[in-house]
Point group: C2
Chain length 341, copies 2
């Protein structure tokens, strides 16, 4: 456990001053080439690395982004994260990751803990509890303290910040529209996320598509619930009624559950039943039949979020620019759970 090299040590060993070493290593014009060479060589030998914390303290910034994710086991968030990571790394930022586990309290606590110089800004998607209880004060107080936030996916108008979302309403509309176009007459909507902004928007898109095609909304076809057995039972009942020929599932659980139960109940997919869901692409392809999905471009959401945040962090104090909301276009990925046109 040899101590890490510092400017001070190097200066002493070389018989020069600390500032000379500092300047030499940053290739300052003030220092003679000979001295620079000598110092650089010695520093390399000692494997000198400037101490980040000292630099951060000096410059009053951490070059670190705090990323708050509701649940890393959800592959959507993992993908967004990978997009954030890539951009951040490329632009010289580190990432501190925290997981809110969908809890408001935890989210609050984590953000407050990190908002003490540890991070320069946050990228986050709200915890479910935060969104359902509409408790957004901590965001605003953090923003007021001078730490910018970028929200993605689960957002609210009540926080003034940059935002990155997908066109949930439109994509749901398109998906439903597609089901209608391939001949579905009885299209069910399945959702376990109707408490989230994105869930509501997807429902809206479904409703809009039916409206436009003058199809009446049928309560028996709308299944909203939680990820539990009760919900599964309701899907089963619906399927057994045979009174359904299309399913639009706005979340991964619903989509995969519907698919599995349909197969178990002897449905021919896509001949008798067409399914479109919001789900992870990789695994959707692995299912048999593969599941048609709405691609959400998760990595791109992450990239945009990181770009927005870093651009804001690098902006001059004076040139405050307006908050942007970036909408990422989604696409319908037709696979084998839907009939071809």
């Amino acid at each position: 456990m040899k101590a890490k090299a510092t400017l001070k040590q190097i200066a002493k060993e070389l018989g020069v001053s600390v500032s000379t070493v500092s300047k030499a290593l940053s290739d300052s014009q003030e220092i003679s080439q000979a001295t620079k060479d000598k110092i650089k060589e010695f520093a390399a030998l000692k494997n000198y690395k400037p101490n980040l914390m000292a630099k951060n303290l000096k410059y009053q910034k951490s070059n670190t982004i705090g990323v708050i994710i509701p649940n890393i086991l959800n592959s959507f968030f993992a993908k967004v994260f990978s997009g954030i990571e890539e951009v951040a790394r490329k632009r010289g930022y580190n990432i501190v990751t925290a997981i809110s586990n969908e809890s408001l309290e935890r989210e609050k606590q984590l953000m407050e803990m990190l908002n003490n110089g540890a991070v320069d800004g946050f990228i986050l998607s709200m915890a479910e509890e935060t969104q359902t209880t509409k408790n957004f004060q901590h965001y605003n107080s953090i923003i007021k303290s001078g730490t910018p936030i970028v929200m993605f996916d689960r957002i609210t108008d009540l926080v003034k910040s940059d935002k990155v979302i997908v066109d949930d309403l439109d994509s749901a509309f398109d998906a439903t529209q597609h089901l209608i176009k391939i001949g579905c007459k009885k299209i069910a909507l399945l959702s376990t996320i109707d408490n989230l902004s994105v869930g509501k928007l997807r429902f809206e898109g479904y409703r809009k598509a039916l409206d436009l095609n003058q199809v009446a909304l049928e309560n028996s076809l709308i299944l909203i619930g939680d990820e539990d057995e009760n919900f599964d039972e309701r899907i089963k009942t619906l399927l057994q009624s045979k009174d359904v020929d299309g399913i639009f599932a706005v979340d991964e659980y619903s989509a995969t559950k519907a698919m599995k139960l349909a197969l178990q109940n002897g449905y021919q997919i896509p001949d008798e039943l067409n399914i479109i869901g919001f789900a992870d692409g990789t695994w959707s392809r692995r299912l048999t039949p593969s599941l048609s999905t709405v691609s959400q471009h998760a990595p791109e959401i992450g990239e945009k979020s990181a770009t927005l945040l870093i651009d804001r962090l690098n902006a001059k104090e004076d040139e405050t620019f307006d908050y942007k909301t970036i909408v990422i276009k989604t696409e319908l990925r037709q696979r084998d759970s839907t009939r071809k046109l």
Copy 2:
């Protein structure tokens, strides 16, 4: 953008010295109760939070763990990560996450970048390239610099550090043994990770089980390759030969590909073909038929890793203790892709 409160400011506004404020806020005996009350109240009002970077600089530690993950999109790593996060958070550590993308260069660069005071220690699983090229020098030099490392899953004997692994050999042995027990005569081994330590161990387990049951290893039943179409073709050929009644897939890609191709080729699973794979539990359950897997207890791997690292960080300098390797037991999760006994 109001500036964040500092000790200095508070001291000035209250007409006392910086050290008085510092002591008061840490509830020092030296300060009178009246002063403490006054200062604490004022600090709370100003929403004072001690600056982390200053503290870190002072104490020469960051209270931060660097986690290097080869690929966050792999749900195994995402789960391990969630285990690390939980323990770290509970014990007051932050996590800086970096993704090596299976690249040696990137891994090296990331670790060197973070080994400058940004983190107190590392938890990592080697990049694929690191493991195949056997380039471990950067680990050793980082350890020598005084930053401890905990390796998990993909490890090597050539690095002296704490390690956390699952009993890959035994679990592969058990899985193969199980296939034999339920009557499989022609058990294929599928692997796209034979370049990784874990891949090799799982192969060993397979071999050992066959040995013990006096079944000869058949080359035609051993498919080792990469995640590409060529590999898929070879699986297809094997399946079409009908000369196989059991599949042991040591990675997720192989397992799901085998399942899908088998279904497409009209196999009745598990009547004609039994499949066991290493794969994500959640999604394995969503497949039809659900996939029998080896549960790897990923979150536990993360928890143990974090515990090992933090214990070492908190240990007194003098009481150096030996490096441990913790082996987590796995279990076979029988689902619908294998016959019941």
